[in-house]
Symmetry: C2
Subunit: 271 residues, 2 copies
Amino acid sequence: MKKVQKHDRISVITNILTNNPNKIFTLTHFCDIFKCAKSTISEDLDIIKDIFRNYEIGTIETISGAAGGVYYNPLMTKEQMQSFTKTLCELINTPDRIIPGGYIYTNDLLYSPNISKNIGIALASLFKHVQFDYVITVETKGIPIALMTAMVLNKPMVVVRNQSKLTDGTVIHMNYITGSNHRIKTMCLSTRAIKKGSKVLFIDDFMKAGGTAKGIIDLMQEFEAELVGVGVLMATKEPREKLVDDFKTLLWLDTVDESNKAVDIYSMQER
Amino acid sequence: MKKVQKHDRISVITNILTNNPNKIFTLTHFCDIFKCAKSTISEDLDIIKDIFRNYEIGTIETISGAAGGVYYNPLMTKEQMQSFTKTLCELINTPDRIIPGGYIYTNDLLYSPNISKNIGIALASLFKHVQFDYVITVETKGIPIALMTAMVLNKPMVVVRNQSKLTDGTVIHMNYITGSNHRIKTMCLSTRAIKKGSKVLFIDDFMKAGGTAKGIIDLMQEFEAELVGVGVLMATKEPREKLVDDFKTLLWLDTVDESNKAVDIYSMQER
């Protein structure tokens, strides 16, 4: 290989950091790749840091000390968040998404890797100061955005299921009441899924009365774990009183007018 | 903002391409960001292309002509694939993963964004020459790796469910027989999920007899769509005859010895 140029280091370091959000890399890691001194890498990182700040493509954070290193945080600025949630409202507020019964079809959005990744970045941005060990979600529609949130924050994801499977091994099985129509549902989670004393962040696509989030709080007690945050893509304005006190949402859904084929939806900033 | 330096362009273009695998960007897109000439961007892209090739961090591909542009393909080299599948075997082949009944606990691996992303890159690498419109999977455990495969190949994902939900709207509902234990199961998919005449790539975490893959072939006929590939993380060696002729797997599972707590697993190359 020919002599390593500064461009090489800038590009490869940018690629590695971008590909691994919130993962800490030591300077030595990059020294080994380029066979160069720490001071050289340190200079490169200062350059990259400035570039990322100037172009608002996330931030490069440095941790000093022996266990130190550098990582990429792709979080959105307030303006990027506003622009993205506005785009989401526009995508959702189209007449042909309205399903008989006043529901909205969102599968194509949730299952689009591009959109779910950006939802993940937006949700991660809401919880950037929260310390936790796992992103938890309930099957099925919430999984893509929970996975993307977990990817952005570099945490493992845990999926609660509606029924236990052989491959889950020993399972904790809990019945709970849905918040809006008072039906009995079941949550199942492998006893191996969460370590005692953990903190979890619950991510889901939709919240009405908050019964699922309340169920997660109860389930976590069985695991001696604690729910430290709830983030959803979309919450309904009614009922105003939810079963959980504290949650964050990217979008507020007011009414779905089936006859006029209109959805009344706001981004979080507009409330 | 101060004058744009070459480093700025190299780093920002690397970040944008890395963040959007297989998405085509026109040169004009970058000209607009940096307020510079196409020839300048073209030079930068040549430099980045060489760097990516030299450091084996994927390839930068150029499409010439009016509709042309540039995109990032993060696919693994043969050596990277070998090394990654070997690591997966080591991760899976640990005694405490064995579950009564001879099953293997893999939820933590499938639900780890880092691991599922790399599985997605590896699976995408197996189908790089296949033209298709959707990645399709069946809930629940296959979703993370299907989503990551879809993200790498920049395609939408579609999730077939075991029961229909109100938010799916009109649904096609199909019963099928599982391949290994001949139970009746159900596949449900919203009629909106797939456009007529589409080609789909089926991705799942596990294949035994291939009943699910066979079910997807049948279900796709109802959508006038065609299954053009099947990729799984892990396939069992027995039964040797699967219900689908053609599939690709990253890992082969031979035996799970419950009493001796040993798993006999190979990477695809070792078969």
